[in-house]
Amino acid sequence: MDQYLGQVVMAIGFILAILGLYGLLSQKNMIKMILGFSIFTTGVNIIMVAIGYVKGGTAPILDAEGNAVAKFVDPVPQALVLTSIVIGLGVTAMMLAYVMKLYQDKKSLNINDYKDLKW
C-alpha cells in the first residue's frame, strides 16, 4: 500500500526545490531570497532521503539483540542528509549575517540597491 510513498515524497522534494529556486530568483527582498534558498535546501534534503527509501523498509536501527528484523532503508543517504542540513544552517546563518550588515549600510533590503560592483 505504500507503493508510491517514495515517488510521492520525491515529487514533493522536487517541487519544493523548484519553488525555492523560483523564490530565490524572483523576490527582490533579500530575506525572501534567503527564505527561498532554505526551502530549496529543504527540498534537496527531501529528495536525498527519498532516494534511500526502500518500499516497506524500516529505520536502519537493529533491535536490542542486534539481529536484523526486516528490510532496512538505506542508511547512507540519511547520513549524507544529516551533514547537508547542518551545512544548510551554516550557509543560511552566514547569509543572514551579511543581510544584517548590508542593511546597516544602506538601510534597504532590496537586492537591486547593492550594485556598487559592476562591469
Binding site: 529556486l21 530549496f40 532516494i51 551545512i87 551579511y98 537586492i111
Partner: protein, 1045 residues
C-alpha cells in the same frame, strides 16, 4: 614520511586550538598559524620530492579502518603531491603576506584561513564524491569569510553574491551526487567512473549536473559576475588565494571528476574553456580597476587550463606537462600580481606608474606580466608552444586559433598596463600610500618572481627542441640587470660589447657552413656591436637600456642559430620583448610602443600557428617540417608570411613603424630599424625556401604587396617633415624592395634582395646614427628647423652623403648593384608592371634622400646652431666603419655577391648570372662591371676637378648672406632656408596616394572591438540575483547544447 592525513589533523587541531586564545595573544597565534602552514608545506614537499626521485609510488590512504567503497579514502600520487605543495606554499606565503591584516582581525580569521588551506588539500586528495562536496562547501564558506577581512560595504555585497551563487551551485551538486549514488551504488569516484554512469539518460543528467557544477566553480564566462566581484572587493591577499590556490584546486577536481561524464563530454569542456579564455580576456580590455582586471585575467587563464583539461584525450602524453606548466605559471604570476596590487594599493591601473619608484617591484611586475602572456623564458611559453603544436597536429585548428586570439586579447590590456606603469608620470603624493616597507609583503613577491623564472628553466626537458643553451644569454642579461643600477653607462657599454663579441665568437661555429645564416648573423652581431658604440656618447646610468638591448640581440642570435621551430620562436619572442623595452624608452613613445607590441604579438602568434602545421607534418619541431606541410598548406604559409611581415612592416602592417622608430632614443633607432627588421626578412627567406610549389599565388601577391609598400613607404617619406619619421618611412620602403625581390624566387631576385639587405643595414644605421646625433644636438626633429650644418659637421655630412648615394642607387656606389640586379630580375621574371612601380619608388627614394641632405646640411645655418660642434666620435667611428663597408662592397661587389650567387644556385633558384675574373657580371640581358665603373668615374672626377681648379684658382669663403636674393638682403636665416614642404609640386600631383587610409582602417577595427567588449561587459549588471539567474541560464544552455534534448 609523515602521512598526508596529518595535514588535516594538524590544521584542524591548530584551528580549534586557536579558539582558546580569545582576544589576547594575537601575534603568537599568527606565528602559530604560519608554523602550521609551514608544516603542511613540508609534508607535501617531502612527498613531492619523494615522487620526483621515484622512491615512492602512489599511496591510497584509508580512513575509519575500512577499504574504500565502504569508507572515505584519500590518494597521494605525484599530481596530488604537486598540487597540495603549490596550494600549501601559496597558503604559507599568503599568510605571511596577510600577517598584519590577520593579526588585526583576530584568531577567528586565522583559523578560517588555515581551514581554507586544509580544505583545498583535502579537495585535491579525496577520492569520495560526497566528501569532496563537504570540503568544497568548507572552501566556499571560508572564502566568503575571508572576503570580509576588510569589512567595507563592497566586500559585504561581494560576499552575499558569492554565498548566493555557491549556495545554488552546491544544491544542484547535491542532487547530482545523490542520483549518481542511486545509479552506481557507491560514492567512490573511481567506482563511479568505472560504472559508465553516462550510459542511461538519467545517469547522464546526474553526471552532467556534477560536472557542470565543478565547471561553474571555476567561474566560466559569462556566468562569472559573482567571481569578479570577489576579486574586486576582497583584500588583494585574499584575491591571490582565491585565484591561485582555490583556482588550482578546482582545476584538479574538474580533471579528477570529468571522466565520470564519459568521453563524448570532453569537447564541450574544451568549448567552455575556450569561450571563457577568449570572452573574459576580450571583456578585460575595457577594465580600468586593477584588481578586477586581475580577476578577468585569472578567470581567463583558468578557462585556458579548463580547455586543456578538456583536450586530454587529444594531447596524449604531453597533457600533464602542458596543464602543469600553465597552472604553475598562472599561480606564481597571478599571486605575485595580486600581492603587488596589495602593496601599492592603487585602484586604477594608470596610477601604477608609482612602481617606478621601487625597481625591485617593477622588475617583478614585468616578469609576471610577460609570464602571463607567455613570453620566454617562462613556463607558459613552453606550455603554450607545446599546446598549439599538439592541437594542430591533431587537426584541432579552430581551437588553436581561438586560443591564440584569446592570448592576443590578453596582450591588449596587459601591454596597456605595462605602458601605463613604465610611462605615466608619478604623482608626488603617490608614494605615501605604498607600504612596501614591510618585508613580509615584499618577500613573497620577489620569491614568486624567482620561482617563475626557475619554473621556466625546469620545463626545458619536456618540450621537443628546447635546449638549455638558450638560457646562457639570459643568464648574462640577468647579470647585467643586477649591476644595472650601480654602474655608469660607459662601463656597462664596454661589458655588453665584450659580452656580444664573446657570444658571437661562441655561437659562430654553429652556423659556420650556412652562408645565408652567417650573413644575417653578421648583420645582427656586428650591427649590434656597431650600434652599441654610440652609447658611449650618452652620460648617466641609462638604467634598463643594456639588459633590453642584449635581450634583443640574444633573441636575434637564437633565431639564427636555431635548427628547430621552438628555438626560432624562442628567439623571436625574446627579440620582441627586448625591442619593446628599447622602443618604450623614447619620451613620447608609449602609444607607439603599444601598437608595436600588439602587431608583434599578433605576428608572433601567427608564426606559432604556422609552425603548428610544420610540427604536424613531420611530428617534430625541426625547421625542415616547413617544407612538408600537407594539411592546408596555403593557410599555414599565409599565416607565416603575414606573421613575418608584421616585422618587416609591409603595407597594411606598417602603421607602428614610423612612431616606434621615429620616437625612439637616438641610438635605439639604428638598432631597431637597421638590425631588427632583418629578422622578418630572414623569416620570410626561410619560409620562401620551404614553400615549394604551393606557394605560387602567395609569392605573386607578396610581389605586389612589396611593390606597393616600396611606393607608399618612399612617397610618405618624401612628404615628411620629421627627420626620424622620414627615415622610418624609408625603412618601410626599402623593406618593400626586399620583400618584392625575394618573392620573385629567382637567383637574380634573391641576389638583389641580399644586396638590399646588406646595403639597407649599412646606410640605414649610418643615417639613423648620424641623424639621431644631429637631432639630439639641435634639439628638434623638424627638418626645416635645421640647416647649414655642413659648416659645423663636415664629417657627418660626408657620412650622410655617402649613405644617401647608396640609398638612391647612384652608379659608383653599391646601391647601383641592387638596382642593376633588380632590372635583370624583373625582366627575366616577367613582373613588368610591379617592376615599374618599384623603379618609380626608386626615383622617389632619390628625392627624399636629397631632401634630407639639403634640409640638414645645406641652406642657412640658424643662429641657435652657431655653437654646435662636430658629432661625438662615438657616432662617427661606427659610421665610418660602415662607410668603409659600403666602399668595399662598391669597389669589389664580386667578392660579396659571387659566394651568395653560388649559394642561390645550390638552392636551385636558377643559374642566370656569370662572373668574369675581372669583376664583370653578365646575365643573358646585360653586363655590369662595378670595378670598372668605379675606376672610370674616379679618374674622370679627378681630371675634371683638376681642370676646374686650374681655371678658377684660389677662392675665399663668402659670408652667409652674400647671395643674389632677388636684389634684397635677407636678415634672418629662418626666412631664407626653403625646406618646408619641399616637393610641393609633387605633393599636389600625387599627394593623395599617401592619405593615411590604413591607419584609419586599424583605428576603426580597434574601436569596433572595444565597443563590442563594452557592450558584452554590460551583462555584469552588479545585481546578485541576476548573477544567480545567469548561472541557471548557463546550466540550461549547456544542457541543451551538450545533451541535445
Amino acid at each position: 614520511m609523515v602521512g598526508p592525513i596529518y595535514i588535516i589533523a594538524l590544521a584542524l587541531g591548530l584551528a580549534f586550538f586557536l579558539g582558546f586564545f580569545g582576544k589576547s595573544a594575537k601575534t603568537l597565534s599568527v606565528y602559530l598559524m604560519l608554523a602550521g602552514l609551514a608544516a603542511m608545506t613540508c609534508i607535501s614537499g617531502t612527498w613531492l620530492s619523494a615522487f620526483i626521485d621515484g622512491s615512492v609510488s602512489t599511496q591510497e590512504i584509508y580512513t575509519a579502518g575500512f577499504k574504500p567503497p565502504y569508507s572515505i579514502n584519500l590518494r597521494m600520487g605525484l599530481e596530488e603531491a604537486a598540487f597540495t605543495f603549490i596550494i600549501n606554499l601559496i597558503g604559507l606565503l599568503g599568510g605571511t603576506y596577510l600577517f598584519q591584516t590577520l593579526k588585526k582581525a583576530g584568531n577567528a580569521a586565522m583559523s578560517v584561513f588555515i581551514i581554507l588551506i586544509m580544505s583545498l588539500n583535502v579537495i585535491v586528495m579525496t577520492r569520495d564524491l560526497f566528501n569532496l562536496f563537504v570540503f568544497v562547501e568548507i572552501g566556499s564558506i571560508a572564502t566568503a569569510g575571508l572576503i570580509l577581512l576588510d569589512k567595507e560595504s563592497k566586500a559585504l555585497q561581494a560576499g552575499l553574491k558569492y554565498m548566493i551563487a555557491t549556495g545554488v551551485i552546491s544544491g544542484l551538486l547535491l542532487i547530482g551526487i545523490i542520483f549518481a549514488y542511486s545509479f552506481v551504488g557507491n560514492l567512490n569516484i573511481d567506482a563511479i567512473i568505472g560504472a559508465n554512469l553516462a550510459g542511461t539518460t538519467a545517469g547522464m543528467v546526474a553526471a552532467f549536473l556534477i560536472v557542470v557544477v565543478l565547471v561553474l566553480e571555476l567561474k566560466p564566462f559569462p556566468a562569472n559576475g559573482w567571481g569578479l566581484d570577489v576579486y574586486e572587493a576582497a583584500n588583494p591577499g585574499v584575491g591571490a588565494l582565491v585565484s591561485a590556490a582555490i583556482g588550482t584546486a578546482s582545476l584538479f577536481v574538474l580533471h579528477k571528476v570529468l571522466p565520470m561524464a564519459g568521453e563524448s563530454f570532453y569537447p564541450y569542456i574544451v568549448a567552455v574553456g575556450v569561450i571563457t579564455f577568449v570572452g573574459s580576456n576580450l571583456v578585460g580590455t575595457q577594465q580600468k580597476n586593477a584588481n578586477r582586471l586581475l580577476g578577468y585575467s585569472s578567470i581567463g587563464q583558468l578557462g585556458l587550463v579548463v580547455a586543456v583539461i578538456g583536450l586530454e584525450p587529444v594531447l596524449g602524453t604531453s597533457f600533464k606537462f602542458i596543464a602543469f606548466a600553465l597552472i604553475i605559471n598562472h599561480v606564481l604570476a597571478k599571486a605575485g600580481l595580486f600581492w603587488i596590487s596589495g602593496i601599492i594599493r592603487k585602484a586604477n591601473i594608470s596610477e601604477w606608474s608609482v612602481l617606478r619608484t621601487k625597481p625591485a617591484l617593477l622588475i617583478s611586475f614585468l616578469i609576471f606580466i610577460f609570464a602571463l602572456i607567455g613570453f620566454p623564458p617562462f613556463p607558459s611559453f613552453f606550455g603554450k608552444y607545446q599546446l598549439i603544436m599538439n592541437l594542430i597536429s591533431s587537426d584541432n585548428i579552430g581551437t588553436a586559433a581561438f586560443i591564440l586570439i584569446g592570448s592576443f586579447a590578453e596582450g591588449i590590456y596587459m601591454f596597456r598596463w605595462v605602458g601605463d606603469a613604465l610611462k605615466n608620470e608619478v604623482a608626488e603624493d603617490a608614494t605615501e600610500s605604498l607600504d612596501c616597507g614591510k618585508l613580509n609583503k615584499v618577500l613573497p613577491v620577489l620569491l614568486m618572481a624567482v620561482a617563475v623564472v626557475a619554473a621556466g628553466y625546469l620545463s626545458i626537458p619536456f618540450v621537443d627542441g628546447a635546449y638549455s643553451t638558450y638560457f646562457i644569454p639570459l643568464a648574462f642579461i640577468m647579470f647585467i640587470g643586477l649591476i644595472d643600477s650601480f654602474l655608469p653607462a660607459v662601463v656597462k657599454n664596454v661589458v655588453s660589447i665584450a659580452g656580444m663579441a664573446y657570444f658571437t665568437y661562441v655561437m659562430y661555429p654553429i652556423i659556420e657552413g650556412d652562408l645565408m645564416r652567417s650573413i644575417f648573423f653578421g648583420i645582427f652581431m656586428i650591427g649590434g656591436i656597431l650600434t652599441l658604440i654610440p652609447g658611449f656618447a650618452k652620460k648617466g646610468k641609462r638604467e634598463g637600456f643594456y639588459p633590453a638591448a642584449l635581450l634583443m640581440y640574444a633573441g636575434l642570435a637564437t633565431i639564427i642559430t636555431a635548427d628547430n621551430t621552438f628555438g626560432f620562436f624562442f628567439g623571436w619572442e625574446l627579440m620582441t620583448a627586448g625591442s619593446y623595452f628599447l622602443i618604450i624608452r623614447g619620451k613620447r613613445s608609449k602609444a607607439h610602443a603599444y601598437s608595436y607590441m600588439l602587431f608583434s604579438v599578433a605576428g608572433a602568434y601567427l608564426i606559432l600557428f604556422g609552425f603548428g602545421f610544420a610540427y604536424q607534418a613531420i611530428g617534430s619541431s625541426l625547421l625542415e617540417g616547413l617544407g612538408e606541410i600537407k594539411l592546408l598548406p596555403t593557410l599555414a604559409y599565409t599565416a607565416l608570411a603575414i606573421g613575418f611581415m608584421t616585422k618587416t612592416a609591409s603595407l597594411g602592417l606598417h602603421i607602428w613603424l614610423p612612431g616606434a622608430h621615429g620616437e625612439a632614443e637616438s641610438d635605439v633607432s639604428p638598432m631597431v630599424s637597421a638590425v631588427l627588421l632583418k629578422a622578418g626578412v630572414f623569416g620570410l627567406m626561410l619560409l620562401f625556401l620551404n614553400m615549394g610549389d604551393n606557394g605560387e599565388t602567395i609569392l605573386y601577391v607578396l610581389g605586389w604587396v612589396g611593390a606597393f609598400t616600396a611606393l607608399m613607404g618612399n612617397l610618405s617619406a618624401t612628404f615628411q617633415e620629421d627627420a626620424k619619421r622620414m627615415l622610418a618611412y624609408s625603412s618601410i620602403g626599402q623593406l618593400g624592395y626586399i620583400l618584392f625581390a625575394i618573392s620573385m624566387m629567382t637567383t637574380l631576385g634573391w641576389l638583389a634582395g641580399f644586396t638590399y639587405v646588406l646595403n639597407h643595414f649599412m646606410f640605414k644605421s649610418i643615417l639613423f646614427m648620424v641623424v639621431g646625433g644631429i637631432v639630439v644636438a639641435t634639439g628638434t626633429h623638424d627638418l626645416y628647423r635645421m640647416g647649414g650644418l655642413i659648416k659645423k659637421m663636415p664629417l657627418a655630412f660626408i657620412a650622410v652623403m655617402v649613405a644617401m648615394i647608396t640609398m638612391a642607387g647612384l652608379p659608383p656606389l653599391s646601391g647601383f648593384a641592387g638596382k642593376w640586379l633588380f632590372y635583370n630580375a624583373v625582366i627575366l621574371k616577367g613582373w613588368y608592371i610591379q617592376g615599374v612601380i618599384v623603379f618609380f619608388a626608386g626615383t622617389i627614394a632619390f628625392m627624399y634622400a636629397y631632401k634630407m641632405l639639403h634640409s640638414i646640411f645645406f641652406g642657412q645655418l640658424k643662429d641657435n646652431h652657431r655653437n654646435l660642434k662636430e658629432l661625438s666620435p662615438a657616432i662617427l667611428i661606427p659610421a665610418y666603419i660602415l662607410i668603409a663597408g659600403i666602399m668595399y662592397f662598391s669597389v669589389f661587389p664580386q667578392d660579396v655577391l659571387q659566394p651568395i650567387n653560388e649559394l642561390l644556385v645550390s638552392l636551385n633558384l636558377g643559374d642566370t648570372l656569370t662572373w668574369a675574373a675581372d669583376g664583370n657580371a653578365t646575365t643573358v640581358l646585360s653586363n655590369w662591371n662595378g670595378n670598372a665603373v668605379m675606376i672610370i668615374i674616379v679618374t674622370t672626377f679627378a681630371l675634371v676637378l683638376l681642370y676646374t681648379m686650374l681655371i678658377t684658382g684660389k677662392t675665399k669663403k663668402l659670408e652667409q648672406f652674400n647671395i643674389a636674393y632677388s636684389a634684397e638682403r635677407p636678415f634672418r636665416p629662418e626666412t631664407t632656408h626653403y625646406s618646408h614642404n619641399m616637393f610641393a609640386g609633387l605633393n599636389k600631383a600625387i599627394g593623395f596616394l599617401v592619405a593615411p587610409g590604413i591607419t584609419s582602417f586599424w583605428n576603426n577595427v580597434s574601436t569596433m572591438v572595444m565597443d563590442f567588449a563594452g557592450m558584452v561587459r554590460r551583462i555584469y549588471s552588479g545585481n546578485g540575483q541576476v548573477y544567480a539567474g545567469q548561472i541557471i541560464v548557463y546550466i540550461i544552455v549547456f544542457y541543451f547544447i551538450a545533451l541535445g534534448k
